[in-house]
């Protein structure tokens, strides 16, 4: 009987909040555009909490959002340490090295159409491969600590950024390149004043794809061996102990870190490529 009551209550809350959203969506406006997804997110959390409490779902299957929040609150130093290990040391180092190398290589092979025609298909091919699979090898080579995670990240982000940068360097129009020729501009001047700025929207596209890859690479590489800290390490050990509230806490931190990283890149993109039609207001 209480099961039926619980179900009715859950459905009622869902229906009510959905109706509210539908009503809001019909009006439009800037505030609504922010409020509707926020209400939807809160609805999901509320329903989650209700389902867990009303139906007595055990914490080893699905902990309630409140339990996860409690786990976050109780383990802040631990979570921070994991974040530093995995995100700042592993992912960020690898991201900077990998993206830097990719842009550098793209500029270096820029003068050789032969190398480009050879490297692009290979790069496109490699970009679609399950590169996280190289994690066990790189852990073997660079040890358990963050260096091996950074190495995995380097390999993961390199090709998407390379392919995008090469495409970007080819993006300036024939007319604009002719214009530089009429000025008698040197190769370096054309690269610096025309082709690199014109390539920026493409480069940022690659850099944004790479943010997610970097975090995934750093976390998954820890499944193959790590010191006793790090987000991937924590997830795999706490899963083993069925302490799912801690796993969800770690995932929540990863989600926040991931979107903050992406958001930072998107912000930088806005500032650098303000002139591009996709960024203009």
């Amino acid at each position: 009987m209480s099961g039926v009551f619980g179900l009715a209550l859950v459905l009622a809350v869902w229906g009510g909040l959905w109706a509210l959203n539908a009503w809001l969506a019909a009006r439009g406006g800037r505030a609504v555009r922010l409020a509707v997804p926020a209400i939807f997110g809160l609805t999901l959390l509320l329903l989650w909490e209700m389902v867990v409490r009303l139906f007595g779902v055990p914490g080893v299957i699905l902990p309630a959002p409140s339990a996860i929040a409690a786990a976050i609150g109780a383990n802040l130093p631990l979570l921070w340490g994991d974040l530093v290990q995995t995100f700042f040391k592993g992912a960020l180092t690898g991201y900077v090295l990998g993206c830097g190398a990719a842009v550098a290589v793209a500029v270096l092979i820029d003068r050789s159409p032969f190398l480009q025609r050879g490297l692009l298909p290979v790069g496109n091919f490699v970009a679609a491969l399950p590169i996280v699979g190289t994690a066990p090898i790189l852990v073997m080579w660079f040890g358990f600590d963050w260096q091996s995670k950074a190495a995995v990240v380097v390999v993961m982000v390199f090709f998407p950024v390379l392919v995008n940068t090469v495409a970007g360097l080819a993006a300036s129009g024939a007319m604009q390149r002719d214009l530089m020729r009429t000025y008698g501009a040197s190769y370096g001047q054309t690269l610096l004043k025309l082709r690199l700025p014109a390539a920026m929207p493409f480069v940022f596209n690659g850099l944004k794809i790479a943010t997610t890859l970097a975090l995934i690479g750093a976390i998954v590489a820890e499944f193959f061996g790590s010191p006793i800290r790090g987000m991937g390490f924590r997830i795999s050990t706490e899963v083993g102990r069925l302490a799912l509230d801690m796993v969800w806490a770690e995932i929540a931190v990863a989600a926040v870190a991931g979107s903050a990283f992406y958001g930072a890149l998107a912000l930088a993109e806005r500032r650098v490529t303000f002139w591009h039609p996709s960024q203009r207001k």
Binding site: G173, T182, Y183, P197
Partner: protein
């Protein structure tokens, strides 16, 4: 008078996917200092190709071509001409002022000189108030005026213009034609101007070169008797209409070949 551009028996053949195309055939032409020469003809007649040869953006297959007494490529490296393309082609990430200073940066002008020249040429094309705006914030006509300013910035004696007003509507085009003429009168530059509009060619030019396609060649060269001082309503005079008629006849004769 010394000739600025001198072409003798110029030929240019392109290799395309389905065979060879003769873009220029036996083109012989002399342009004297201070002239305004229009090239008119249907698409494929080689008018743009000829302009690109003068700019050393294409290399003729045979024949001789000199610009300012040098080979075209030497002239390009000596920055002998300013080139205005069909589209403004301004860099969207630079302001109008910084777009105009682009050639000056490349040619290594000192900062102070750059700033002075940008101010001057923007004044010349009536865009002084828009120096700090970005190209996409301007209308098409204003963008094209900025691109003319860019071509004028380094003060080359020769101005090459490839259908610069082709994409603009007729009212804007009339206005720009008028401005271009007064600019030409004030600066005494030599202009080579590609167009497919008969009134535009007759209104602007001291000499009209009529071309026809397959193979691209010159079919008629008309020296205009119109005075250098030309208000817009000169286009209603009998003289103007007669020249326009002769150009149209020349174009039609070229067409009867295919």
């Amino acid at each position: 008078m010394s000739s600025v551009v001198s072409a003798k028996n110029l030929n240019l053949t392109f290799d395309t996917g389905d065979g060879q195309v003769q873009a220029l055939s036996c083109v012989t032409l002399d342009v004297a200092r201070g002239e305004f020469v229009s090239f008119i003809g249907p698409s494929g007649c080689g008018k743009t190709t000829f302009l690109r040869c003068v700019a050393a953006l294409e290399t003729p297959t045979s024949g001789t071509l000199s610009v300012n007494g040098m080979s075209a490529d030497e002239a390009r490296r000596a920055r002998a001409y300013g080139y205005v393309f069909q589209a403004a082609g301004l860099y969207p990430w630079r302001t109008i002022g910084r777009n105009v200073s682009l050639p000056l940066e490349i040619m290594g002008y000192p900062r102070e000189e750059q700033r002075r020249r940008v101010k001057d040429v923007l004044q010349l094309v009536d865009l002084a108030a828009f120096e700090g705006k970005y190209p996409w914030q301007l209308s098409g006509g204003m963008q094209q005026r900025a691109s003319i300013a860019r071509a004028l910035a380094f003060d080359a004696d020769l101005l090459l213009m490839d259908e610069p007003f082709g994409a603009l509507d007729e009212i804007v085009r009339d206005h720009l034609n008028e401005q271009l003429l007064s600019l030409w009168a004030r600066t005494e530059k030599t202009c080579l101007f590609v167009t497919h509009s008969i009134p535009e060619a007759v209104y602007l030019s001291t000499k009209i070169v009529v071309m026809s396609p397959r193979p691209g060649r010159i079919t008629d060269i008309i020296d205009s008797p119109l005075p250098r001082e030309r208000p817009l309503d000169i286009r209603d005079t009998a003289e103007f209409i007669e020249i326009a008629h002769r150009v149209r006849e020349g174009l039609r004769a070229g067409h009867s070949h295919d």
